[in-house]
């Protein structure tokens, strides 16, 4: 068969990187599409490893039917072809070139979506696929692959989607980039006459495509005559309901809701066209889908990241029944009291008129407070108002309100409605926060002015709700629909008979309740999903471990635990401070807050404690007395050095001082008090308890939690083995508890990794137990240094170095290849160095000596003016960044700043 548009000698497969020429084939297919006259035969080109597999005597487990979008071609799927050809898990992979695209025939017709779906069916009928079939699609090829999937239920076993869309979410317009491409003045020239559309698409790769790969993507589209399909594809995008392809698209979009086969979505969020809102729409249609967003990847996610490994891991899971679900220990099937049960009890009881929540003003007086009854009524009214505004079960609501009365009411109102609260805080930094909010795609954003202004500037998703009523101009400017105040007014008028009202209404304990974010000190911040059951378990853990029961009165200087106040039945007061900057808590503000409610418990971050000590002279006699009444201090978020705690003890003489250890995924995991820290340090110094020392002692597991480690291998990783708790064995720390997170949000691969030991959460921290059952944390798994003959965990040596008088924060990092890394100590000096670079030989010698005493041989000592730390805690050193910097400096580059 000879076609007029035969591309010539460069076909087939003339040296395209990553493509085995044997995969390239062509097939003549009788067309039944409306675009063709009856009896028309079309020539298709595809990449197909089927013949090769049977030639090797391999029987494929099924077929991956891969459909490219515009303007790519089957080349996009080469990594799947290669992975499918692995004899250990053979899959036939058929990657088609759509008609008028790639190296398939140039038909001279205008093929619409319905034609293309039908075309694909014609092709697969002619090909004869090995069942079961999993469809794979990208860009507009995603829609076509889904159209095929819906039409072939008997063959279909699953769907894989990458950066695609099936529906224009209401109230939004099509992406500006596409609007431009569709503009009559631009369309023909941009897509067909010139190769602009191709070039722009190829430029969306992060990192940029290699020259040979770019050239392979361009190969079938050289010459305007070969690009008609590119232009037609763009013209076939249904911008509104009047478009001829709109019915076909709607058919696919609606048909998806009934699709019950397993689904996998792999997404590159840096996509100017198929942004997160389209992912959200797809998740709404296929709620059972496994979803992974590759932070930093873009439209060409198959080029930016390895998608073959996750696709084949997922396929392997399809073969098993149900797959490895996280087993939850010690969880009763039902009878979980909702998080707010104590609140309702107190509101209805004799003490209903007593203060439940309060906020302090800067003058030391109570600025605002609500009784238990008022709190319950406020929550109830707001819940009703939010329902009217459209917030319901499963709605995602981003709360950008500082801790205090408003946040407490809004949070519990959302939880009661079964909405999922998204709590991203300013501690992530502007960029991290923006990324987090966009990735979580909230439906609603409740925020203070500052947050709403940022949302407007940075284009955060979600319908906007302000806290207070705003003037009309401001409201328009910020795109705000309503306010919490207005919603509460509206809600209090709603009949109390509505099902959303009242204490009886409790959501499914296994429904999603909250998305919290990790601090992002080890990579982009990750969303962590909690169910209602897990939040209730967290409340139980805190209550049981620390003995906090109804009647307790707590000063909430640290957000995560502070929100639990009403759930614990505890009176809570927010001190006058900028809660987004813990360092702003003064001793006086703390004392005023304590005095206002005769506080028994204080929650404060380590950074806040430092400032409290620095400002302790500002406390009056009355304030001092109030602080003397405190019985318990909890300080979490980062390790608290013993000398700091000892100082705090003088300010809170009667209090038991506790520094629980935990992470966003499990709050808390272990607990230790000042006395226990001192005992542990003494044991480490005396060497009498096996395993004591070399790390930060974080104490014993909290109520209901089990903790163990999986030992580190010589290459610094923690391969899956039997968890142990043997003294002195260093490994990755695991936790198992009813209050461990449900999953990472839209990070399926991360979730798989973190739960690769069924029943356990892998924390990514490393540490060991001592013979007394105490856990010692030695750092992050990702920060382990592999020097020749020794795996070095950073914390032990860092502590030894920090004991030198003229050293502040120290970090131990590795440079060079894994297994033969040189150990580098990076120190902040007192007073600070004038510029970053090698430490003076004298200091270097002492640092080296201190590290050696802790068993670590240091090659180089570098001084920095300030360590790069996370914004949230101002304590977690970014060792990964330091390591990159140290590598550069020690290779002989100019120092600069880390």
């Amino acid at each position: 068969m000879v076609a007029a548009d035969w591309p010539g000698a460069d076909w087939p497969g003339a040296g395209w990187p990553g493509v085995d020429p044997e995969w390239s084939r062509e097939i003549a297919v009788a067309s039944t599409s409306a675009a063709d006259d009856p009896g028309t035969v079309r020539r298709w080109h595809l990449l197909d490893n089927g013949a090769q597999l049977s030639g090797r005597g391999l029987t494929p487990a099924g077929t991956l039917l891969c459909v490219h979008g515009n303007p790519t071609w089957s080349y996009l799927w080469r990594t799947l072809l290669a992975a499918g050809s692995d004899s250990a898990r053979p899959w036939r992979v058929v990657a088609v070139d759509q008609l008028d695209m790639g190296f398939s025939e140039r038909t001279g017709t205008f093929r619409r979506l319905a034609d293309r779906i039908n075309d694909l069916g014609d092709l697969t009928d002619a090909l004869g696929l090995d069942v079961p079939v999993v469809s794979v699609g990208h860009d507009w090829g995603g829609v076509i692959s889904l159209g095929w999937a819906l039409a072939h239920p008997e063959q279909l076993a699953g769907v894989v989607l990458t950066n695609t869309a099936v529906h224009q979410p209401s109230g939004s317009s099509i992406p500006p980039a596409l609007r431009l491409a569709l503009h009559p003045a631009v369309h023909r020239w941009g897509t067909t006459t010139s190769d602009s559309f191709l070039r722009v698409t190829h430029s969306l790769a992060h990192p940029p495509l290699a020259a040979d790969v770019r050239s392979a993507f361009m190969a079938p589209y050289r010459g305007a005559g070969r690009r008609a399909g590119v232009g037609n594809f763009v013209a076939d995008i249904p911008v509104d309901a009047s478009h001829p392809s709109f019915p076909a698209l709607s058919g696919v979009a609606e048909g998806l809701r009934g699709l019950e086969v397993p689904a996998l979505m792999l997404w590159g969020p840096r996509d100017p066209i198929f942004s997160d809102r389209y992912l959200k729409d797809l998740i709404g249609r296929l709620p059972h889908a496994k979803v992974h967003r590759f932070e930093g990847a873009g439209h060409l996610v198959a080029e930016d990241r390895d998608i073959a490994t996750p696709v084949f891991d997922w396929l392997a899971e399809l073969g098993r029944d149900g797959g490895p679900e996280l087993q939850r220990p010690n969880v009763p099937a039902d009878g979980v009291p909702p998080l707010w049960a104590p609140l309702i009890e107190l509101a209805a009881g004799a003490a209903g008129g007593d203060t439940a929540v309060a906020e302090m003003a800067a003058d030391g007086k109570v600025a605002r407070s609500l009784s238990w009854r008022e709190l319950e009524q406020g929550i109830d009214a707001l819940a009703a108002g939010l329902t009217e505004a459209g917030v319901g079960h499963g709605s995602r609501v981003s709360l950008m309100v500082p801790p205090g009365v408003d946040l407490t009411v809004a949070l519990y109102a959302c939880l009661r409605l079964g909405a999922v609260v998204v709590v991203a805080d300013a501690g992530l930094g502007r960029r991290g926060l923006s990324r987090a909010v966009k990735g979580a795609t909230p439906d609603f954003l409740i925020g203070i002015d500052k947050a709403l202004a940022a949302a407007a500037v940075l284009g955060w998703p979600g319908r906007r709700i302000s806290v207070q009523d705003l003037r009309a101009g401001r409201r328009r400017l910020l795109g705000v629909e309503t306010s919490l105040a207005a919603l509460a007014r509206r809600g209090s008028g709603v009949s109390p008979k509505l099902p959303c009202r009242g204490p009886a209404h409790a959501p499914d304990p296994d429904a999603d309740a909250a998305v919290l974010f990790t601090s992002g000190s080890t990579g982009p911040a990750k969303g962590v999903l909690y169910t209602h059951r897990q939040l209730a378990a967290m409340r139980e853990t805190v209550a049981e471990t620390f003995g906090i029961s109804p009647g307790a009165r707590l000063v909430a200087g640290f957000a995560p635990f502070a929100l639990l106040g009403p759930a614990l039945g505890a009176v809570s007061v927010t001190p006058a401070m900028d809660v987004t900057a813990p360092r702003t808590l003064t001793a006086r503000a703390l004392a005023d807050a304590a005095a206002a409610i005769d506080a028994t418990v204080v929650f404060a971050s380590p950074a806040a404690l430092r400032n409290v000590l620095a400002t302790r002279d500002g406390v009056s006699g009355g304030g001092r007395k109030a602080l003397e009444g405190v019985e318990l201090l909890l300080s979490a978020g980062a390790p608290v050095p013993e000398p700091l705690l000892a100082e705090v003890q003088r300010l809170l003489p009667r209090a038991s001082l506790h520094t629980p250890y935990g992470m966003t995924e499990a709050l808390p995991v272990t607990d230790i008090s000042l006395e226990q820290i001192q005992a542990a340090d003494a044991d480490a110094a005396a060497g009498t308890v096996a395993g004591a020392g070399d790390g930060v002692c974080v104490g014993r597991p909290v109520h209901g939690a089990r903790v163990a480690v999986i030992p580190l291998a010589a290459d610094g990783t923690a391969p899956v083995t039997e968890p142990v708790t043997e003294a002195g064995v260093t490994g990755e720390i695991l936790v198992s508890s009813p209050h461990v997170k449900e999953a990472y949000d839209r990070l399926w691969l991360t979730q798989l990794e973190s739960s690769s030991l069924p029943g356990w959460h892998r924390t990514g921290d490393v540490g060991h137990f001592d013979a007394a059952g105490r856990l010692w944390v030695e750092g992050r798994l990702a920060h382990v240094v592999t020097s020749p003959g020794a795996v070095v965990t950073p914390v032990g040596a860092e502590q030894a170095i920090e004991r030198l008088d003229d050293v502040g924060l120290a970090a131990v990092v590795g440079v060079g290849p894994s297994g033969t890394q040189a150990v580098v100590a990076v120190v902040e000096t007192v007073p600070p160095a004038r510029k970053a670079g090698p430490a003076a030989p004298q200091l270097a010698g002492r640092v080296r000596g201190a590290a050696l005493a802790a068993g670590v041989s240091v090659s180089a000592v570098l001084a920095v003016t300030a360590q790069p730390t996370d914004i949230r805690h101002n304590a977690k050193i970014d060792r990964t960044r330091l390591s990159r910097w140290a590598s550069r400096v020690l290779a002989g580059g100019r120092p600069g700043q880390p």
């Binding site: 020749p788 060079g816 297994g819 030989p841 180089a860 020690l890 002989g892 120092p895």
Partner: protein
Amino acid sequence: MRVLVTGASGLLGREVTRLLVRQGHEVATFQRRPSGVDGAADFCGSVTDDDAVHRAVAGAEAVIHLAAKVSFTGRAAEFDEVNVEGTRRLLRAAREAGVRDVVFVSSPSVANSGAAIAGLGAEPADPERAHGDYSRTKAEAELLALAEDAPEFRVAAVRPHIVWGPGDTQLVERVLARAGRGRLPLLDAGAALIDTTYVDNAASAIVAALHRMENIHGRALVVSNGEPRPVGELLAGICAAGGVPAPSWSVPGGVARAAGAVVEKLWTWAGRKDEPPMTRFLAEQLSTAHWFDQRETQELLNWTPAVSLDEGLARLTEHYSS
């Protein structure tokens, strides 16, 4: 074993000879001046003299070849004559004399194109990319030596990295002389991470190589202390040992490398025999990382460095204070 050591009058050659004598081997040496090692028989002569080479290898079972022209400057032809042709001549004579094993003492600079080396092993010698006549000719010689390797004529290359110790004229004396006159700058604040080899360790590794030819013949191995340090600290340590002030001023590495290239050319053009104040090679050595993966070397040689860097510096201090 009857062993011939060439270049035994140098710092490392003398130490290798001493060690072999201590181990009870029958040791002969070959170089232009007497080695001065008790218990070794000296043949005096040059590797450029065919007859002298033949006389020296006669009766030897093994040869350790250290003799080379080591300098930052000089005419290219001299380097070729001594380092390349001298090696070729020695190998031919050794083979004819029935020598079984040859350890060719080389240098990591044979595989160094000027880029930083952080934790690599022994990369292939590359005369095309090696910087300077010394490295280029050593690379050529190593390639031709290893090409001679055969079951009955085993050749291995050992590349000790920056050998120093008491009595060292190449590094220690130069550092002290320059630092003493205040003419030793740090390049880029002296941050480049550099591994070195204390002379006793280099010697013991070379002798270990002779005993492990079975495992290593046909290969090149880098040898070092396995203790990389920022170059500024190393220089400070050497200066402290020699009782001179440590270098305290820094110039950008790029400037020094450019200046070195110019100075080097001027010196050669003027035919000066003394060492120039800066050469490109020296600037590179002082401003880019050079440290190596020692795991394979230590395993293959069944050897570990016995003298740590700090112990070496202590011995240097003792040497200068006595």
